[in-house]
């Protein structure tokens, strides 16, 4: 329907702008790989240590990468007041938000596709044994970050201390989804499928995504019409 069509237009515009300027991709990628290296130096983890906190470590890298990417999401509209043109177009606030969240999701997924093999090499983890489950959990976790992150990027776009404010607001609110993602990724990295008592985390992650996507889509219009 038209909302999704408008969202797609905004998403392709965002991705094209990003691929042309690479203003957030470069910094995010190098930043993520550096963190992976630092952890390797700091812990020099043995395989069973990896089984215990591999998922946590991976998600810490993704969370930092996420904050860098979503920070630029609405900031990109400020030069030349492009935000005014978008808001005055027939596209609703919700489709603007969805388009931007989609673009951030794709960028973040790109960074993850590079970090995961790097993680596998640095910590010699055969992460692809239960690949299906892993991709599912990564997608859910990444969407929760893209959704909440992009919404808060819209919320804080006009503030002075935006770079500082966004992560500070975003991280505590994302704790339930990050916690679930870390628990699930931990077991999936070691190759076993999600154990029965862990399905509760999967339900939490899915519930979190549903609640916050609806809230964001519903409140986007209020936030964007200044």
């Amino acid at each position: 329907m038209t909302m999704l069509r408008h969202a797609a237009v905004i998403a392709t515009k965002d991705l094209r702008s990003e691929l042309r300027t690479k203003e957030s991709i470069n910094s995010t990628l190098s930043f993520s790989v550096v963190i992976l290296l630092l952890f390797a130096f700091a812990f020099d983890p043995s395989p069973d240590m990896i089984a215990e906190f591999g998922g946590g470590l991976l998600w810490i890298v993704f969370v930092f990468a996420g904050a860098l990417i979503v920070n630029r999401s609405f900031a990109r509209e400020l030069p030349n007041d492009c935000i005014d043109v978008l808001v005055s177009s027939p596209a609703s606030g919700a489709s603007l938000f969805l388009g931007k969240a989609l673009a951030s999701f794709v960028l973040l997924a790109g960074v993850e596709c590079i970090c995961l093999p790097a993680f596998g090499i640095l910590y010699n983890v055969t992460w692809w044994r239960s690949l299906g489950g892993l991709i599912g959990v990564l997608a859910l976790g990444t969407w929760s970050m893209a959704c909440v992150g992009t919404f808060f990027s819209a919320l804080t776009v006009n503030l002075r201390l935006r770079e500082l404010m966004l992560p500070m607001l975003m991280y505590p609110i994302l704790i339930p989804s990050l916690l679930s993602a870390m628990m699930l990724t931990n077991t999936l990295l070691t190759g076993q499928p999600i154990p029965s008592d862990f399905t509760v985390w999967l339900r939490l992650l899915i519930g979190f995504n549903i609640i916050f996507t609806t809230l964001s889509v519903y409140l986007a219009e209020t936030v964007l019409v200044r």
Binding site: D81, V85, S89, V225
Partner: protein, 233 residues
């Protein structure tokens, strides 16, 4: 079919406790052209932004053809040109127009036609960052007129344009006027804008102190309106 009627019914806009707009009330008929005058900070931009659905009125409201300004169908017919050009520097002219055009459902042929009309087709695929000021302004005008808007909201359109761009904009506005579109443009008392206007409104510290026909004296003597209606300060 002629452009929509625009009505403001007791619009108040507060920035905190500061009334940027105080009980602004007017009805603009279909196909009319209103010149919105006033000093800096009188509330011209605030009123235009509310009419374009960019910000909400604290009290009262505006209606375009009786409809809500945030309704998608209404906004599909509105053309907005703000102070800055509203284009992406990293994208080319064609990509910019294609992105905005897609939101209004504009076909590719119209886009190249408009690139031709503002004679930018020779640089259509270079990023806007490399354009001269005049070229950027012409592209901004093309973006505002791209989807054939029936209501044009222009915020001091003439102030930063070079001569070629002013001539282009005047031609387009005259054509739109002839075609029955409704136009509201805020201006710093520049003659070009006054010639087009059929109605004139004067805002003074948020209050609409005058709204009526544009007379010839106003055209010849820019200060006339401020002396007769504006407050001394």
């Amino acid at each position: 079919m002629s452009g929509p009627a625009v009505a403001a019914a007791g619009v108040w806009k507060y920035f905190g406790d500061y009334p940027a707009l105080r009980d602004v009330r007017f009805e603009l008929g279909e196909g009319e052209c209103l010149a919105l005058l006033g000093r800096n900070g009188a509330g011209k931009t605030t009123l235009l932004r509310i009419l374009a659905g960019l910000s909400g009125a604290s009290k009262g409201g505006v209606a375009i053809d009786g409809g809500d300004v945030r309704a998608s169908a209404t906004r599909a017919r509105v053309g907005w040109l703000g102070h800055s050009i509203g284009l992406y520097d990293e994208l080319s002219a064609r990509e910019n127009l294609r992105t905005f055009g897609a939101l209004y459902g504009v076909k590719a042929a119209t886009i190249s036609e408009w690139l031709e009309r503002v004679n930018l087709s020779h640089v259509a695929d270079a990023p806007v960052r490399e354009y001269s000021r005049g070229m950027r302004q012409r592209l901004a005008v093309a973006r505002a007129f791209l989807h054939g808007p029936r209501l044009l909201l222009l915020d001091e359109p003439f102030t930063s344009l070079d001569d070629k761009a002013i001539a282009l904009l005047q031609g387009l506005l005259a054509a739109a006027r002839a075609d029955g579109a409704t136009i509201i443009l805020s201006t710093h008392q520049i003659r070009e804008a006054m010639e087009l206007a059929s109605l004139v409104a004067l805002l003074d510290r948020g209050k609409l102190v005058h709204y009526g026909e544009r007379t010839t004296e106003m055209l010849n003597d820019p200060g006339y309106l401020y002396r007769t209606y504006g407050s001394a300060a």
